[in-house]
């Protein structure tokens, strides 16, 4: 259970973040300059690798009880925020995350930027746009890989899951050279929110000194219970004014409208 759930949680979280980063790199590459966008992405990945190399051993050196308390608290806050957004999107209280429209916004912003050469980079604006996008989206991935990996004592497996996700999304992005709007990102965020909340609850309570009935097997109850609770909340929120209570008959659903 531990290894499988760890792989799925890290893989899905990384796919979501990689799709968002790919959208920004594609926008920078298409409108500005591919060489600058690619160098920005590579530079950000190098910084992220450095963060993992520095923080990885440091996190591993922290006693497991203290680590579980801090990591559990952070994962629980992250998970509840992801889940909150996913429920609001699925119930119609928040617009669905749409890579197509985000891509067009990024393209418009990139087109308006100044064109300056710096060092070996032909277009500094394209470089920084790509660099910041990959670095910011990647930080969350690094956090998830390190915390899940060290807590389950499977940092290697977490890193493999992250690498698989990034490679898959990058290959798809290179192949189609368009925003990956067909990835069911909203649904994946919903699942990741459930996983982060469940693991955060489990590790947070253990770190605070609680003992779960059945030990690790408690996760087998926590994950589906939180998932079921989240689905009930989606149904309840659809009835709240402003929610998507009744389906709109005529309008065709957009490609990304797959939340929840």
């Amino acid at each position: 259970m531990g290894a499988g759930a760890l792989f799925i949680a890290v893989f899905l979280a990384c796919v979501v973040e990689a799709v968002e980063a790919t959208t920004i790199v594609l926008a920078a590459g298409t409108t500005r300059d591919w060489r600058s966008a690619t160098s920005g992405m590579v530079a950000a990945l190098a910084v992220l690798a450095l963060v993992v190399a520095v923080l990885g051993p440091a996190v591993s050196a922290v006693p497991l009880h203290g680590l579980r308390l801090v990591v559990g608290a952070l994962l629980l806050v992250f998970g509840l925020q992801w889940l909150r957004k996913a429920i609001l999107r699925a119930s119609g209280h928040k617009a669905l995350h749409d890579e197509e429209s985000i891509y067009h916004e990024q393209v418009a912003a990139a087109a308006a930027g100044p064109r300056n050469r710096a060092w070996l980079v032909p277009d500094w604006f394209g470089f920084t746009l790509s660099f910041k996008g990959v670095l910011l989206e990647g930080l969350e991935v690094v956090f998830i890989v390190l915390t899940f990996g060290t807590n389950q004592q499977h940092v290697g497996l977490a890193a493999i899951a992250a690498a698989c996700a990034v490679a898959l999304v990058a290959a798809a992005g290179v192949a189609i050279r368009a925003p990956l709007s067909r990835v069911p990102e909203n649904t994946m965020k919903f699942v990741v929110g459930i996983m982060l909340t469940a693991f955060g609850t489990f590790w947070g309570a253990e770190g605070a000194g609680a003992h779960w009935p059945g030990s690790d097997a408690a996760l087998l109850v926590l994950i589906p219970a939180i998932g079921a609770f989240a689905l009930i909340l989606v149904a309840a929120m659809r009835r709240v004014p402003g929610g998507r209570g009744r389906p709109v008959p005529a309008a065709p659903a957009p490609a990304t409208a797959e939340a929840g």
Binding site: L76, A210, G242
Partner: protein, 87 residues
């Protein structure tokens, strides 16, 4: 006179630099606040309080594992209700 103008310019430049540093520091703190706390501070406060009470309970004979799931059952709907109300 020229010396005073020079001194004034240096002073305004220093004030500008200080304002720049303060802006960058605010931006840095805002980034970490947004990264860790996110859209609803109540969730972060609730989680920290829940863990503190769990720790307290774990020092007694009462089982403490049930507290966080119960907290989530209350905190998540409350946060959603707050979000829907502010729309």
């Amino acid at each position: 006179m020229a010396g005073r103008e020079q001194a004034g310019l240096t002073g305004s430049e220093q004030a500008g630099k200080r304002a720049g540093v303060a802006r960058r520091l605010r931006g840095f703190l805002a980034f970490w606040y947004d990264f860790v706390v996110g859209d609803d501070w109540l969730v972060a406060v609730g989680v920290v309080a829940g863990l503190a009470v769990t720790y307290g309970l774990s020092k007694t004979a009462v089982p403490a594992w049930w507290l966080l799931p119960l907290l989530i059952a209350g905190l998540l709907p409350l946060s959603l209700w707050r979000a829907a109300r502010h729309r």
